[in-house]
Structure formats: C-alpha cells, structure tokens
Symmetry: C2
Subunit: 223 residues, 2 copies
DNA sequence: ACCTGAACACCGTTCAAGT
DNA sequence: ACCTGAACACCGTTCAAGT
C-alpha cells in the first residue's frame, strides 16, 4: 500500500506538538494580538487547536504560566551596561524600561506583583540592579533590600498606570471633584494643596521623581 | 377583609430593601465570613436574596463596588495624632495599619492599586499623611508627591504579602533554588549575595526598613 | 419607576476515558 | 504514557419583561 499519511486530511497540515515552549509562544502571540486581558487558558488552548485540559500537562496553573510569561518578556529588556553611563542614569533607564514593558500588559503587571517570577532573565535583571547599586557605593545588605523596593515600585507603577489607562468607569475628573469637595475644616491641608496631590507633574516626570527619591533614601542608608 | 399581609408568607419575614449601603454591608460581611476572594456579584446577590441583576441598579460595576468597599474599610483605621508621638513613628504606624487592613483582603488590596478609592475616609488618610509630612519639614510639593509614593508602597506590600501567603503553587523554596542555581559567571553579584536578596530579615523588619528608606529619600528632597 | 429571571458570553480546573 | 471531551462549578453584565 502507498504511504500516504492519513493525517494529511487535516486543514492545518502539521499541528505542532504541544510543549511548554509552544504554549508560552502561543500565549505571547495572543497578548501581542489581542491584549493581555484576552489571554485565558481556554483561548490559549483554542490557539493551539486543542482543549483546555491539554495545557495542564505542561503548566501547573495560570499563576505558573504568568511567571513563565513574565520571564520571557524580560528577555526583551536591554540589560547591558557599558560602565560609562552614570550608574544612576542607567538604573533609571532600566527601571522605566521594565515598567513600560509591563504597562501595556495589565494582567501580567498584576501577576508580576503576586508571583516571584523566577527565571534566568529575572535573575539577569536583578544582577544588573545589584551591580549598579554596588557601583554607586551602596552596601551589600542595602543593595539586596533595595532591589526589592525598586522593583516593587516599578511593578506597582505599571499596574497603576495600566489600570488608570483602562478606566473602568473611573476617571481623574471624579477624583478631582472629590478632592474639591474636601471640607476645609476636616481636611485643611488637602484643601490647600488641592489637586496637586494627584496631578502635579506629568507621568514621566513623576516617575523620575519617585525613582530619584527612592535612590536618595537608599544612599542615605549606606553611610 | 382582614389586613393580614400576604407578604408574610415569606420565610425571612422582612427582607430589607436594597440600597447602596445595604449592598456594601452585605459585601463586608461576606468578606469577613468567607474571605475577600469569595466576594462576587452573584454571591453578593444571593446574600441579599435577589438576582445579580438587581445590584446593577445601585453599583455600576465591580470596580466601583471595590472602591466603595475600600473606603468603608478605611473607616476602621485610627487616623488621630496627638502631636506628641514623633511624626515619623506615627507615619510608620499608620502605613503599617493600612497595609495590615488590606493584607487579609487580597482582592481588595489589588483593587486598591487599580482604583482611586475616592471617599471621605480616603481623604482623611491622605490628610493625616500630608499633615505628618509637613510637620516633619517636608515642602508642600514634596508632601503631595510623597503621599502617592508612600501609599503605593503600602498597597503594593499588602498585595505581595497577601499573594505570597496564598501560595498559588509557588513557594520560597522554589525561589531560593533558582537563586542557588545562579550561574557564577553570569550572576557574580547574585551568587555572592545569595538568598539575602529575598529573605534577609523578617517581614516586619523589612517593612520598617522600606518605610524609613522612603522617608529618608523624601527628606532629602526637601532641603 | 423599580426590580429581576433568564440569557449571553465567558471563566479555571479536573477526571474518566480514549489512543 | 500521553492526551483530551466533557463536565463541574463557577464568573460579570445586560436586557426584555414583569410588578
């Protein structure tokens, strides 16, 4: 008999075999195409031409998948340092790169706060942060803790920004209205400062201010 | 005919009328009884003996409900200041109270990062923070921005802690294993610091360190 | 006007059964 | 051994219809 493959009946001729890597790839392309909020186990299974149960052979649960995804995304970060660019500037740059990476992927940003995204690229990022801090004269113990604080800030900023951009019904107008209604007797300081509490300066400028403030605090710990 | 109420047939004799306040109350009791992760629109409707559609007469969506809930929870915070307790200590205390309030309510902690929880109690909290900062000699502009940074840190810490306590399959052991596997050539600094990056010091001590670092940074901005 | 049953369009995860 | 159909146990939100 001739060796015509009976499998060749299928439309998509060679459905690639499932694997952890194939799943992460498919997840990434859903995120790029439809947005991170559209990434679900069921949709991901659909993308791979199978049922959702099949994914659970390769990933334990959604949390684990997210951790994997975050690490994969981190690969896109430039983590080099020429040693010429001042360490403080390099630190600012890598943190805002990291934030930007997550801001357009709301659900992942959220996951990044909840999971410890273990993985080689995450380690690379931490390594760079530690290296920069040490070169700035920060003590080893302080550097270790600062990494946490800096990444927490960058991640939380991404979550906030992604959330506010999404605007689930809320907007800045509501907030400034609430603030304007602040009773002068009950909130004398707020009444004086007004909307500056929330809106003073642009996003970039505030981000830069925050990182500089963090760094000043960190440097103060190292004397 | 006698004026026997036909309504008295019902088991729970007087189902309270729906209202925004009643909904928030019911939501709070679900959170207290079953945990914040069990709070859903459908369950909430069940608690109030009605269908989920009825809730949408009083709240726009889940996000709005969460904002409401956070403000209500904030009412439980002690926001007084005798002016005798050093401002820095008072600030530390209110921030860790706020964190603790959210840590046991995972989903709300998450929401607190995403929504601007407008409401009277939130304003009270901000007012206290501004007041403490100003009394510490911080400039008005710096105080306004610092409030953001301090609350972001406290909220993000609550989210992280709640998440790690939940342990969706991940645990510290995984992470320290990853860290131990850090290639010495690729991650010389990490290899030297080891697990200290993640585990040095207890939760409370690290929290205190972070707030002090933040405050030192803030004070450095004000000279 | 105020409320809601029922439907729409989804979820994550498990498990028994198939190859 | 590896994979998956089908089911379990849910979601948030809308809308046409009822009182």
């Amino acid at each position: 008999m001739s060796r015509t493959e009976p499998i060749s009946r299928r439309e998509r001729p060679s459905k690639p075999p499932l694997s952890r890597a194939a799943i992460v790839d498919a997840a990434l392309s859903i995120i790029e195409r439809d947005g991170a909020d559209k990434l679900t186990m069921r949709r991901l299974a659909g993308e791979l031409d199978t049922g959702p149960a099949s994914l659970y052979v390769y990933v334990k649960n959604t949390t684990e998948l997210n951790a994997q995804l975050i690490d994969r995304l981190l690969k896109e970060l430039d983590l080099s340092w020429d040693g010429v660019e001042p360490w403080r500037e390099r630190l600012r740059r890598v943190l805002s790169d990291y934030s930007a990476l997550l801001t357009s992927r709301t659900e992942l940003a959220n996951a990044a706060l909840l999971v410890w995204p273990d993985g080689a690229n995450y380690l690379d990022l931490i390594e760079l942060l530690v290296r920069l801090l040490l070169s700035g004269g920060v003590s080893e113990q302080t550097a270790a803790r600062s990494v946490d604080l800096l990444l927490q800030h960058a991640t939380a900023s991404a979550v906030e920004w992604a959330g506010h951009a999404r605007q689930d019904g809320q907007d800045l107008a509501d907030l400034t209205a609430t603030l304007a209604s602040a009773d002068e007797a009950r909130h004398p300081n707020l009444a004086r400062l007004g909307a500056a509490v929330f809106t003073d300066g642009g996003h970039d400028e505030r981000g830069r201010w925050a990182i500089d403030t963090l760094l000043d605090g960190i440097l103060a710990r190292s004397e």
